[in-house]
Symmetry: C2
Subunit: 428 residues, 2 copies
Amino acid sequence: MIVKGFKQLPLCEIVGVVEVRYVDFVNLKYEPSATDVICTFHVEPEGISIKEAAGGVAAESSVGTWTELTTAKPYVENLAAHVFSIKKSTVKIAYPLELFEAENVPNILSSVAGNVFGLRALKNLRLEDIELPPEILRRYKGPKFGISGIRKLLGVSDRPLIGTIIKPKLGLRTVDHAKVAYEAWIGGCDIVKDDENLSNQRFNPFEERLVKTLEARDKAEKETSQRKVYMINVTAETNEMMKRAKSVLSQGGEYIMVDILTCGFAALQTLRNLDLNLAIHAHRAGHAAFTKNPRHGISMKVMAKIARMIGVDQLHIGTVVGKMFETSEEVTENCKALKKEMNGLRQVFPVASGGLYPGIVPALVRFFGKDVIIQAGGGIHGHSDGTVAGARAMRQAVDATLTGTLLDEYAEKHRELRIALETWGQSA
Amino acid sequence: MIVKGFKQLPLCEIVGVVEVRYVDFVNLKYEPSATDVICTFHVEPEGISIKEAAGGVAAESSVGTWTELTTAKPYVENLAAHVFSIKKSTVKIAYPLELFEAENVPNILSSVAGNVFGLRALKNLRLEDIELPPEILRRYKGPKFGISGIRKLLGVSDRPLIGTIIKPKLGLRTVDHAKVAYEAWIGGCDIVKDDENLSNQRFNPFEERLVKTLEARDKAEKETSQRKVYMINVTAETNEMMKRAKSVLSQGGEYIMVDILTCGFAALQTLRNLDLNLAIHAHRAGHAAFTKNPRHGISMKVMAKIARMIGVDQLHIGTVVGKMFETSEEVTENCKALKKEMNGLRQVFPVASGGLYPGIVPALVRFFGKDVIIQAGGGIHGHSDGTVAGARAMRQAVDATLTGTLLDEYAEKHRELRIALETWGQSA
């Protein structure tokens, strides 16, 4: 890994020196071991070859730097990452397990999703996928409930779950918040959740909201004889978040919601490690700052795998349709990350949320199947007859879809759905 | 904020509906109040006007959604954000203070840096700047030491601080790690730091490293009669991170290092709130996943302000030169964010790190002035005569620069610098 003879280089050519060293991290004959961490990157070099750029990523994210070191030791070379596949711009790198502190998510990310994005020698770099070996996965709890546990909790085994977000997203006072929640549950929602930026503002303080909304839940459960749950947003500084989560438990809640990216993985690990008897709904506010560009950043799939490993029970992964940007390919990949075998960890319930309404339920179910939580905010509270009618319309759309009935046909005998279709239309 | 008559719209035109509502969030006559949070965004619309797109950002990050709501209340409208300036693609939005939980950084980010990046109606969106009012800033401790406190701690008042990162970045065993640290201090470094992805790996466990490296520090202090500090990386799950920080304190350390982005702001707030008598060195591993693209994501300046508010004492903000990508304009902005008046919060020491070596010290000092921590890893340990000589060469470069002597001239009587210049050259 040592190259000599780069004297008197003007600064702008330092990158040229780097190239020479970096190819030493490429070994296309390397066969990853069962304990390696495998990362797939999209790599766009800036003025160097793809091989050099790929090696540069492997070096910077493992044991290399830009110049020869007198402090290098032969035993360190065993820890070098290996580029073992380059196909066009897609590069696969294998990292020895020993590089990481297995229990430490921030540490793993500081290596494979750290400095590498800033290298001057790369025009773009995207971490597309990460495969974590059993040796790492077994250190994590994964979801406490997962899809099967959530279904058991709610007593709903055979249909998508229907959720709503209280709207307006901010500003509603506690009494009005609880009233909207009650109406959504009465109308047929299983789940009511806070919006991602509601926490403990003065207009709707956390503790008061928790108590009042759980009272509304109890009332709705009694009147409907169905299980209803409230996902209150506990996102905050770690200790405050723990306090809020414990408060939810002591008040009889079953669920908490966390903005996993703006709060961060160290705090999410802490929360999950508490192992409270609470399902964790994971919101991904902020993800698109680094997931949206298909050529740079980190894919949502990687975030989904990390969140599942730590142990969230539900995660927003895009809607395919609606107001957010993701393609169906991306959402399919996100879904797989939540559901496919992962060292025995439970499956995470995928959540579709953002600009949804009754007319697109058939398309959603066609895409996701029954194992999806369909959340509509405006698509429920925007119903001209109000929230109860809006929630009914959503349930009617789900019922129609599951019995194979066209929405238009079902709407003939279901007024709420008919109005929703007239208001927002329907997708093909 | 209510618009009627968007019946039977095919899904792809929902965005068209959104436009109509979103302009209601634009009020170019609005004058921000002293308590508003002001955000500057770069906005690139996708098929809608800049005015509509700007309004969309204000709506989604405050009280709006994509459709008319029956649950809206007149009192909520007072909480709407206002687009008050649109100049080409630069949009300024004022958010009423009441929208936020002032003490809760994740909450603030979930609003202003949350869902907005994913809106389908935007091609690109970048949060360029954030101005936080005194009402929010006064809830935070800010840096415990800051530039003046760090200078006092180290007893160095009139020159840049010289730091090194132990290299190879991963893999060195504890005894070798401590030896390299010792040599760097003896050679003239003030600071030795871990690399961002060293935490508690088996090859170099945290507790053992802490003890051995502080022993080396004590020895180096005794031999040089100068203050020397070790910035050990405590990044981990929150409770583990607190434990490690306390351990540093009990072992006689003065400093900790944290990867603030991969660990996350909830945990950073928790750490700072502990208010231990430790300076916090903030590494920004991972930032370029969302800061690198000048048209999408979040600027480093925003992160710098948030980090200062929470209270880190030192922060990596780019090198202008070196292996990382940032332009001098960006680094200048980052620097300002750390130093300019901010409700009386202490100034954060800017850290330049990444591909640095003696030959670029004059350029660095010209750019940063004396208030900068110059960190060189490969640029010290890559010196052909070893780490002691490498550290000496860095100090010689600083000494020459501060006395206005050309490096070439100074090198005539300083062998270590001469070799460094011969090895890596120098910048203009």
